[in-house]
Amino acid sequence: MNIIEINNLNKQFKITIRKNWIKSIFKSEYKIKKAVDNVSFTVKKGESVAFLGPNGAGKTTTTKMMTGLIYPTSGEISVLGFKPQDRNKEFLMKIGLVMGNKTGLNWDLTARQTFSIYQKIYKIPIEKYKSRLDKLSKLLNVDEHLDTPVRKLSLGERMKLELIGAILHDPEILFLDEPTIGLDIISKQNIRKFLREIQKDHGITLILTSHDMDDIELVCDRVLVINNGQLVFDNTIDYLKSNYNKDKYVKFYFDSIQDLDLNSYGEIYEQKDASITYKVAPTSLPQLISSFTSKNNVIDIDINSTPLEEMIKEIYEKK
C-alpha cells in the first residue's frame, strides 16, 4: 500500500539578485530557481527510503513539501491520503519531523519539560506517554539527561532527545533531515542503529535525507538520488552499491614524496601538496597501501567509498 504518492512535483523559488546595490534599493531583480523539477515516486508503508544528493540538490525541499511546510509550485502530492499543504491536524498527528540543524527542544528547559508539552499537543494518554518516554530514553541511553537543561547537553545527546520528541506520539512516518549532521562517529552509529530498530520493530516509515553514504547504507533499503532538482536514481541500496560504489578512494597524507613515479601505483583521483588520492578496486587495496607506504613517508591514510558526486556522474553516464 502506497502511503506517499508524488506525481510531477515542482517547486520554484524566486531569488532576489543584488547586482547593483543602488538600483536594488528602488527595484529588485529576481531569478527563478527550480529546486524540484518534475519529480515522481511512491513510498510503501514500512519502507525506509533515503534521499541522497549533494547540497542544494532539492532533497530537503522535497521533504518539506511532503511535510506540508512549503507549497508545491505544481504537481500532485499525497501523504497518508492527505494533501500535506492543507496542514490537516489528523495528518500532522501521524508524522514526525527531525531536522539535524534545527532544535525543537526548548533551549532553556529540560527535555522532560518540553516532552510534557508535546504530550499535551499530541494528546498522548499520560500512562502511554510515561512508558514510551521511559522505554525510548533507555533505548537511546539518555534517561539521565532528561532533567538537564537542553543548552547543557552535547550535540549527540540533544539529537537523541530530538529523536525521542519526534516519535513520542508514535507517528506513522518519520521524516529526518540530515539527522547525523555534525555528530561524532559513536553518536552517529547509535542513532542509525536506533532508527533501524524503530523502523523494523514498529513498522514506522522512514524518509531520510542525507549526503552521508553511511547513514543511508545502515538505515535505508531504498535510495532516491536527487540532483539539480531531478530524480536521477530510484532503486535499492544494494543495487546502488553493487553498480555505482565499486571503487575505493585511498588518500595518503605525507611529509615528502620519495618516489616521484606516482602514476605507477594506480589511477590518481586527486593530487594536492601534501596528499594524493588513488581510485582502486577493493581487491587492489592491500597491495596499493603496502607498496605506497613502503616507498614513501606516509603520515596518515583515509579510505573512502565512492564520493557521491562520482556516483551521480556515473548514474548520468549510464543513463
Binding site: F13, L69, L92, K102
Partner: protein
C-alpha cells in the same frame, strides 16, 4: 474548525494559552536572577512621568480637556497597554521574524497546532508584566485623586471591552508590520516603526489632544490609541460608551479576519529557511 465543535475549538486554544504561559514562566524561572533591571527602569519611568505631568500642570488646570488626575490615569492605562503588549504581542512578533528567518517556524508548522493562534500566543510573560507594570501602577494608583474622576460602573465595563479590542488591534498592527518577513526576509525595521507609533504616540497623547483626522487614523489604520486614548476617554465618560464599544468590536473582528487571510497567504509563500 471543520470537524471541531465550538467547545473543542475554545478548549484547544485555552490549552495552548495555558501551556505557553507555563512554558514562559518556566523559562523565566530558569533565569530568575536576570532582567530585574526592568523593574527599576519601569519604576523610574513612572516617577519621571508623574513629575513631568506635575510640571505640565503647574500653570494650567487642563490640557486637551484632561485634568492632572485624568492625565495620570491616562498614563496608568498607557503603561498597562505597554506592558501587556510587550509581555504578549511584541515578543511573539519578534519571535515570528526570527522563526521565519531561522526556520524555527518549520517545527511549529509540523505539529498539530492552530499555527496562527500558536505563534500569536507562543509566549505569555506574566512574570515580565508583574515586574514591569505592578510597581509603577502602585505609584500611579496612590497619587491619583480618584474621587475627582467621573468613572462609573458602565464606563468601567466599556473600558475593559475597548481595552481588549485595542490590544487585538495593536497585535494586528504589529503582525501587519511583521508579515513582510515572509516575502522579503526582513521586517525588523517595520517592527521598530510600529513600536515608535505605539510607545511614543499611543501612551503620550490623549485622544482628545488630536484633531479629528488623526483621531480616526490612530484608531483605525494605525490602531495604537484604542487601548490607551479611547479606553481612557470612555472610562472617564468623555466618549459615547455604546458607540465606542461597537466601533472597537467591529474593528477588532475585521482585524482578526484580515490577519487570518494574511497568514494563509504568507504560509503559501513561506519558503522555509534552507538547512
Amino acid at each position: 474548525m471543520k470537524h471541531m465543535g465550538f467547545k473543542d475549538f475554545i478548549s484547544e486554544r485555552w490549552q495552548i494559552i495555558k501551556i505557553n504561559t507555563v512554558e514562559t514562566f518556566m523559562l523565566q524561572l530558569s533565569s530568575i536572577f536576570e532582567n530585574w533591571i526592568v523593574l527599576i527602569t519601569s519604576f523610574f519611568f513612572v516617577i519621571i512621568n508623574i513629575l513631568f505631568i506635575n510640571v505640565l500642570f503647574t500653570n494650567v488646570s487642563t490640557i486637551a480637556t484632561y485634568t492632572k488626575d485624568q492625565m495620570i490615569l491616562f498614563s496608568l492605562i498607557g503603561n498597562l497597554s505597554f506592558f501587556i503588549n510587550i509581555a504578549w504581542s511584541a515578543d511573539n512578533m519578534a519571535s515570528l521574524i526570527y522563526g521565519v528567518n531561522k526556520g524555527d517556524l518549520d517545527l511549529i508548522l509540523s505539529k498539530p497546532l492552530p499555527s496562527l493562534f500558536y505563534v500569536t500566543f507562543r509566549k505569555i510573560d506574566i512574570f515580565l508584566f508583574v515586574k514591569g507594570f505592578v510597581p509603577g501602577a502602585i505609584a500611579y494608583i496612590v497619587i491619583i485623586k480618584w474621587f475627582s474622576l467621573n468613572i462609573t460602573f458602565e464606563s468601567c465595563l466599556a473600558a475593559i471591552v475597548i481595552f481588549i479590542a485595542g490590544q487585538i488591534a495593536l497585535n494586528f498592527f504589529q503582525f501587519l508590520c511583521v508579515i513582510p518577513v515572509f516575502f522579503r526576509g526582513s521586517a525588523e525595521q517595520l517592527m521598530s516603526l510600529s513600536w515608535a507609533f505605539e510607545y511614543n504616540l499611543g501612551r503620550m497623547i490623549p485622544l482628545e489632544g488630536l484633531d479629528k483626522f488623526f483621531r480616526i487614523l490612530f484608531i483605525t489604520l494605525i490602531p495604537v490609541m484604542i487601548s490607551t486614548g479611547l479606553t481612557t476617554s470612555v472610562l472617564l465618560n468623555k466618549s459615547d460608551l455604546l458607540l465606542s464599544i461597537l466601533f472597537s468590536i467591529v474593528v477588532s473582528i475585521v482585524f482578526i479576519l484580515i490577519k487570518i487571510l494574511l497568514w494563509k497567504f504568507a504560509l503559501k509563500n513561506y519558503t522555509s529557511a534552507s538547512s
